[in-house]
Amino acid sequence: MSILVIADHHDGQLTGTTANVVAAATAIGGDIDVLVAGEGVAGVAEQAATLAGVTRVRVADNAVYAHQLAENISALVVALVGDYSHVLSGASTTAKNFMPRVAALKDVAQISEIIAVESADTFRRPIYAGNAIATVKSDDVLKVITVRATGFDPVARDGQAAIEAVDVVENAGVSSFVNETLAESERPELGAAKVVISGGRGMGNGENFALLDGIADKLGAAIGASRAAVDAGFVPNDMQVGQTGKIVAPDLYIAVGISGAIQHLAGMKDSKVIVAINKDEDAPIFQVADYGLVGDLFEVLPQLEAKL
């Protein structure tokens, strides 16, 4: 067996999740290669080469891969997939965009967001917003899989894989990049943070999210939000935690003014410790909270910041 892991990177940095994906590949077993596709990604390749268990890093460095356009990346992966038995990537929005395209071009199914490997062909994945866990077995010759990072502990960074250039240039010519607006933040990435504090509709407006800042500073936390808070325009979409937003599993998750709809729980209920702050003592969020504090967030948050 041999596995191709497609690296996730951003701004010249390998994102943390690739180490979790390599862990999933290690659980499957076999030789592991990593593909780094992008423009000006030599540094990313070097970072990927340190991931424990990786044999070879293959680098496709070309302008056509600059913005990770699904049409071009999927064509590249299809060109390289050869004898690999598995293609794996994280469940970033980038991978969710191109991986199903790879699967369809190879006429195989995709298994989305696995959280556990039972064997080389059998995997577990959440369905129905995580309210059920399906075990699925694939008899496809090539298994195309996205991996939910929270299901696997990252591999160490003490490896020394060989780095090889790949000179395949695939330009489908049906799509082009126009522009991008990326949120700038000094805070840790939501998916990687050890502590996440999220605000919901109860925050009232966008300005009030500042109440979370001081606490996040003290705890080194990332700030998240419920969909209601995003929809109401309090905060940008990339902060949404949940079934259809980001999936997080930090050591500590603090939900403030969030009721606990199943779609929100789907994104955070695997956190180690959950704290809920809500003025409604019957809010469903308390059913998953290890520590619940019934109270008005406008009183509780300043006190909490002062006590930390």
Binding site: H10, H67, L69, A70, T93, T94, K96, N97, M99, P100, R101, V102, A104, V108, A109, Q110, I111, S112, T122, P126, I127, Y128, A129, N131, A132, I133, A134, T135, K137, D139, D140, V174, S175, S176, V178, N179, E180, T181, L182, A183, V195, L219, D231, N237, D238, T244, D251, L252, V273, E281, Q287, V288, D290, Y291, G292, L293, V300, L304, K307, L308
Partner: protein, 250 residues
Amino acid sequence: MKVLVAVKRVIDYNVKIRVKADQSDVDLTNVKMAMNPFCEIAVEEAVRLKEKGVATEVIAVSIGPKASQEQLRTALALGADRAIQVLTDDPVDSLAVAKLLAKVVEEEQPGLVILGKQSIDADNNQTGQMLAALTGMGQGTFASEVVVDGESVNVTREIDGGLQTVKLSLPAVVTTDLRLNEPRYAKLPDIMKAKKKPLDVKTPEELGVSTASKVTLVKVAPPAERQGGIKVGSVDELVDKLKNEAKVIS
């Protein structure tokens, strides 16, 4: 330009599912079903394109059992002009759905195909991308804005770090994210009118597509339950517990 929208019948998003005792699947007997929320957004977007004069006809397609005609009727009530059902009682995976949709695309030649980004039952997030691959079209997934401009479409996509806009030549595939629009409700007169709109029924055999899947569902289990926690009486008590009991802050 014709716009094709794919709508899926799924469990109502408010229902909390239960796993069958024999762990063979989730239990859907007597459970309220509805149109997948992302498909509602897809229908809304298509109807708005027609209202703006960009689309000339909106065609809703659903693959599934007889009962999924309910969701097609809903799409017709919301403003779709006609509907196509691909009737099958077999479970169909995303690849099979994409192959069936590709056949419908071949027959109908739409300028734009709009799907939801994800079905809330399978949580696959695959079908639109697969359809785009099979038809060689460009794809604008997780769309929060769709602007058709002559021979191309600009799609603003919700990505992990923020927003990205791509330009696709038409025909193209778009999948909807939650903030693309706010779907309208169907009005009673429109629901009545929808009953008279055309609804064609085809089968996978007629379309020449096999729905057999190489992936088998071995087992469905409930997720690990969280142990119920406690309520604390004050911020002091909370901080103390986090420091000394849970040891997650120092």
